[in-house]
């Protein structure tokens, strides 16, 4: 995380207490595709919520360690890197940098 990011480079996502480990937390922001927030090992990770294989919401999928499985065809992504980890997913999903400031979760834009 870059310390240099100013507050106006951050977009507010949710309260840091809202995402829980083992589940995706969906956030919708104006001018952004829907986002999925994951908490893992006390860190937060933000990726696009839409699967790169089809029109599924990854927040509806099962979490397995640092991976989320797609509810449609059981493809999977590592939510720390966005990389696909199981067929039929072949294209990474976009990742965003998460930042906690005073109990609130932001992403760097």
């Amino acid at each position: 995380m870059t310390e240099a990011a100013e507050k106006n480079d951050l977009a507010f996502l949710c309260d840091a207490s809202e995402p829980v480990e083992g589940e995706g937390f969906r956030v919708e922001l104006p001018n952004f595709p829907a986002l999925a927030v994951f908490k893992y090992d006390d860190k937060f990770f933000v990726i696009d919520d839409k699967c790169s294989h089809g029109n599924a919401s990854l927040c509806d999928g099962d979490v397995d360690g640092c991976e989320v499985e797609c509810p449609f065809h059981a493809g999977a992504f590592n939510f720390m890197t966005g990389e696909p980890t199981a067929a039929p997913c072949t294209v990474p999903v976009r990742t965003y940098e998460a930042r906690v400031v005073e109990g609130k979760l932001y992403m760097v834009i």
């Binding site: 790169s52 294989h53 089809g54 397995d64 499985e69 509810p71 449609f72 065809h73 059981a74 493809g75 999977a76 980890t85 199981a86 067929a87 039929p88 072949t90 294209v91 990474p92």
Partner: protein, 330 residues
């Protein structure tokens, strides 16, 4: 005959030696699938009750987690007795023309490039299909492989353009002298595939790499023969000139007498022709159409490395996912 129950209430019959995905599609259900070959993973389902025979346990699409979570591939499994499964059916997979298996007799083999030949088969009853779709051919003693039709549905003839993969079990055999000769029969099951021609007003780009020539030709042939007003651009990629088609041969094959299709041969390694563009298909695509790529429907077919690079480049450029039309793993 076994009964397969889906967790959402649907039921269908599955014959002996028939796969769950194909039986579901034959009964008109939208069972998710793409390749029918064990490679893409789109047909994964979860077993809830009953016994299954896995016809291809080493299939590349299944992971250790899938096995742990009782998932199998619908295109590579048959039920042993009645079973219950969990799968996400979806209308986009419902076949327009119900797939069926029938005997097909070889009528000709004609070379197209140094390692691609057109194999034509005659079937008793004309098989309807949408250009871009494929059939599953059973090669006696060797197994089943998917091949896309390269012609249009007419007169009970189905044409396939098969690339000799040299080390490949089936394709290598098909090119050998001991393989099929005139009149020989094989079983042909189809049509399958969701990466087919979409009749809309958008301009189109077809991208064929090597073995992906057949479905793209069928789409281009349909575009010409149905007098579409939209434009079609056709990129054909190979390593060198020997893998590519000169413009006149391309137009002849497509039946494009008026030169309506814009044709771009693309060599990834080396070309002596000033007409050929050198580079990788995904780079050439982005440089040729960078201005307004999002206004096109893009169809593509070819080896997995090619379709994966294209998919990745297009995804990164923000290209709308629903306008990229392809079946994984040709």
């Amino acid at each position: 005959m076994a009964i397969v129950k889906v967790h959402t209430g649907e039921e269908f019959e599955c014959g002996d030696n028939e796969t769950i995905a194909r039986a579901a599609l034959r009964s008109g259900l939208g069972f998710p699938y793409e390749c029918n070959s064990g490679s893409c993973g789109t047909c994964k389902f979860t077993t809830l009750d009953g016994e299954f025979e896995n016809l291809y346990p080493e299939a590349p699409a299944i992971t250790e987690r899938d096995t742990r979570k009782n998932r199998l591939l619908g295109c590579q499994c048959t039920p042993i007795g009645d079973v219950e499964i969990k799968v996400m059916l979806s209308d986009e997979y419902i076949p327009k023309y119900s797939p069926s298996e029938q005997a097909a007799n070889l009528i000709s083999i004609n070379p197209i490039t140094h390692d691609i030949s057109a194999f034509s088969f005659k079937v008793e009853k004309t098989k309807e299909f949408i250009p871009g779709q494929y059939s599953i051919l059973t090669i006696p003693g060797l197994g089943k492989r998917a091949y896309s039709m390269s012609n249009l549905p007419k007169d009970g003839v189905l044409e396939f353009m098969i690339k000799n993969m040299k080390n490949g079990g089936v394709s290598d055999y098909l090119f050998s002298e001991r393989a099929l000769s005139h009149g020989d029969a094989i079983a042909l099951d189809g049509p399958y595939g969701i990466a087919h021609y979409r009749y809309n007003e958008r301009d189109k780009i077809c991208i064929a790499g090597g073995s992906g020539l057949a479905p793209m030709l069928s789409i281009a042939r349909e575009h010409i023969s149905s007098n579409q007003e939209s434009r079609l651009h056709f990129l054909f990629g190979g390593k060198t000139d020997a893998d590519l088609l000169p413009l006149d041969e391309f137009r002849n094959l497509v039946g494009d007498r008026k030169g309506l299709i814009e044709y771009y041969p693309v060599a990834s390694v080396y070309s002596e022709s000033s007409y050929t563009i050198t580079g990788f298909l995904h780079d050439v695509l982005l440089s040729l159409f960078k201005e307004n790529l999002g206004s096109y429907d893009i169809y593509c077919a070819g080896p997995p490395v090619m379709t994966a690079s294209l998919e990745k480049s297009l995804f990164e450029s923000g290209f709308p996912q629903e306008q990229l039309i392809f079946d994984r793993y040709c």
